[in-house]
Amino acid sequence: MSASARRSFAAAAAGLLVLTLVPWGESPLRRLAGGDGDGRDPTFDVRMDPAPLRNACRTKIATYYVDAHTETQLAQGNAKAAGQLYLSCSFPVQDPSRAETTLRFRAGRIQVLHRID
C-alpha cells in the first residue's frame, strides 16, 4: 500500500469506529456492535428464567422429564430446548415415571424437582 492509501485506510477505519461510538438511537452501526448486548442465556420466545437450570448438572442427574403440558406449544418447545441445553449431561425421557428429575415449567418459572424414592 502506498502512503496515501495507508492514510485513507486509517482515516476511513477510524472514522467508522468513531461513528460507532456515537450514542444515537437504533442505527445500523449500533446493531452491528450488538446493541445493548445480551447475556449468556438464550433469548427465549416466551418468558422463562433459566436460573434454576444453570447448575443442575452439578448434581448427578441420569434422566429428567419436562413437565410443561399446561403451557402453550411454543412454551413447551422452549422448555424442551432449555432442558436439552442446560441438562445436556442428562437424558430427557418421555415417560415421567422413568425420570429421576422433573423440570416443571409454569408461567415463566422453572422448578427442578428431584424424585425421592
Binding site: M1, S2, S4, A5, R6, R7, S8, F9, A10, A11, A12, A13, A14, G15, L16, L17, T20, P28, L29, R31, L32, A33, G34, G35, G37, D38, G39, R40, D41, P42, T43, D45, R54, V66, G77, N78, K80, A81, G83, Q84, L85, Y86, S88, C89, F91, P92, V93, Q94, D95, R98
Partner: protein, 437 residues
C-alpha cells in the same frame, strides 16, 4: 476462561492448524483468514468423525485432532509449492479507504458477535444442545435417533460440524454461554472476508477487490445472520470458499488452492444436508469451465474427497435408521407443484432484496451478461448458471419437504439462500476484473 479468552483460544488453535496445513511460505498475517477457515474446517470435521467412531467431542479429542493435522501439515500434506510471487498491486487512496471501512465493519462485527446471544431459536434449541450432548455422551442414539423412550433432537439427519465447533467453544469458556455461537460466527465471517481478500490479491485489482468486499461487508443480512447463530452462514462460507478455490484452480492452476477447496468442500458437507448438493453443483459448473481440460483431474480429486466425506455420517444414519427428511420418492410429486411456485417467489425475493444483500446477486448476473454481450462466450454466464442451479435445488428442496410450505419458507428461506449469495460475492470481483481487461 472468559467468553472472549475461551473462544479466541479455540480459534487460535484453528489458525495454528491452518497455517501448518498451508505450508511455510504462507505463515504470514495476511493468510490468517485462510488459515482460520482451513483449521476450523479440518479440526471440526475430524472431531465430528471421531464422535461417529465412538469418541466424545471434548477438548482433548479436539487437541488430538489438531495435533494429527499439524503433523500431517508438517510432513507434507499441504500446498507444497512455494507461494508464487505476484506483481505488487497498487492500492489507491479510494481503495485504501474502502479497505479501511471493510476492516472497521469487521472489527465492530466481531465485537457485536461477542455481545450477542443468537436470536434464532434453532441455534440455542437444537444446534448447541446437540454439541453439548456430543461432549457429554458422544453420538448416543438415545438422543440422536428418534425412539419412543427418550426425547430426541430435531432434524436428526443434519450432520454435526456446527454443534461440534460451538461445543468446543463452550468447553473452552468453561460455562454455558450461548454468545459463543455468534462470536464464533463473527470470527469465521471476518476470516472469510480476509481469506477472499488474500486469495484474490494479485488476481484482481485492489479497487475492484475493495469494492466487492465492501458490498459484502455492508450487507445488513450478513451481520444479522452472524448474530443469529445461523448454521447456514458457515455452510455458505465454505461453499463459497470451495467455489473460489475451484475458480482459482481452473483459472491459474495453482495447486495449493486445491487444498483450500478440498477442506472447504469437506467442511460444507459436514454442516447441513444440502451441503453435498451445493458442493456438487459448484463442481459441475467448474468442470464445464475447466480449461485446459487436464485441470479436471484436480477438480475431480477434491470433489470426490468432499463427496466421500459424506459417507461416515450417511453410514451412521443408515446403521441407526435415521431417514432423510426429504425422501427421494417424493421428488416429483406434481400434486404439490404449487409449493415450488411459492418457493420460487420467496427465494427470489430474498436473493434480490436490496435491503438484505444489497445487489450482490444482481451484480453477478449483470457482469455475466455484459461479458457475454462483449465476447459472445458462454463462459461468462457460467457463474449465473451455477447460482441458478443452486436456486433450482433449493426450490426442489422446498417442494419435497413434508412441512407446511408457508411456515417453512417464512422460517428458513431468508437463510437457505446464504450459500448462493456468498458464492456470488466471491465470484463478482473475478468477473469484474475480467470485464475490465
Amino acid at each position: 476462561m472468559s467468553l472472549v479468552a475461551g473462544v479466541l483460544a479455540v480459534n487460535a488453535v484453528f489458525v495454528a492448524v491452518g497455517y501448518a496445513l498451508l505450508g511455510r511460505s504462507r505463515r504470514r498475517a495476511s493468510w490468517a483468514g485462510v488459515a482460520l477457515l482451513v483449521g476450523a474446517g479440518s479440526v471440526g470435521t475430524l472431531v465430528f468423525f471421531a464422535t461417529i467412531a465412538g469418541l466424545r467431542a471434548s477438548l482433548a479429542v479436539a487437541a488430538l485432532a489438531a495435533a494429527v493435522l499439524v503433523v500431517l501439515g508438517l510432513i507434507g500434506l499441504r500446498g507444497s509449492e512455494p507461494q508464487t510471487p505476484l506483481p505488487p498491486a497498487r492500492v489507491g487512496p479510494l481503495a485504501g479507504a474502502a479497505f479501511g471501512v471493510v476492516a472497521a465493519v469487521c472489527a465492530v462485527g466481531v465485537i457485536g458477535g461477542f455481545r450477542s446471544a443468537p436470536w434464532l431459536d434453532d441455534a440455542w434449541g437444537i444446534w448447541l444442545p446437540k454439541g453439548l450432548a456430543l461432549w457429554h455422551h458422544g453420538l448416543d442414539e438415545r438422543v440422536f435417533v428418534p425412539n419412543g423412550r427418550f426425547v430426541t433432537f430435531g432434524v436428526p439427519d443434519y450432520p454435526l460440524w456446527w454443534p461440534v465447533v460451538t461445543s468446543l467453544d463452550v468447553q473452552a469458556v468453561g460455562e454455558l454461554d450461548v454468545r459463543v455461537m455468534c462470536a464464533q460466527l463473527a470470527l469465521l465471517t471476518v476470516g472469510f472476508v480476509g481469506a477472499v481478500a488474500r486469495l484474490l490479491w494479485g488476481y484482481v485489482r485492489p479497487s475492484l477487490l475493495a469494492g466487492a468486499l465492501l458490498l459484502l461487508a455492508l450487507a445488513p443480512e450478513l451481520w444479522r445472520h452472524v448474530q443469529g447463530g445461523v448454521a447456514d452462514l458457515p455452510l455458505a462460507i465454505y461453499v463459497a470458499l470451495f467455489a473460489l478455490g475451484l475458480a482459482l484452480w481452473v483459472g491459474t492452476g495453482a495447486s495449493f488452492v486445491l487444498l483450500v477447496a478440498g477442506v472447504s468442500g469437506v467442511a460444507a458437507v459436514q454442516i447441513k444436508t444440502e451441503g453435498i448438493a451445493e458442493v456438487l453443483i459448484v463442481a459441475a459448473v467448474a468442470a464445464i469451465a475447466a480449461r485446459p481440460r487436464r485441470r479436471l483431474r484436480g477438480l475431480a480429486l477434491v470433489t470426490g474427497l468432499a463427496a466421500a466425506s459424506a459417507l461416515p455420517w450417511l453410514l451412521w444414519r443408515w446403521a441407526h435408521d435415521v431417514p432423510s427428511r426429504t425422501p427421494l420418492a417424493d421428488a416429483f410429486d406434481f400434486d404439490r407443484a404449487g409449493r415450488a411456485a411459492q418457493a420460487v417467489g420467496e427465494l427470489a425475493a430474498r436473493l434480490l432484496d436490496p435491503l438484505s444483500w444489497l445487489v450482490v446477486v444482481p451484480l453477478l448476473v449483470a457482469l455475466g451478461v455484459l461479458g457475454y454481450r462483449r465476447d459472445r462466450r458462454i463462459e461468462w454466464l457460467l457463474p449465473t448458471l451455477g447460482i441458478t442451479a443452486g436456486f433450482a435445488f433449493l426450490v426442489w428442496a422446498y417442494w419435497t419437504n413434508p412441512d407446511p410450505i408457508d411456515f417453512l419458507l417464512a422460517t428458513s428461506a431468508y437463510r437457505t439462500v446464504d450459500p448462493l449469495v456468498l458464492t456470488a460475492a466471491v465470484l463478482n470481483p473475478l468477473l469484474a476484473e475480467r470485464l475490465l481487461r
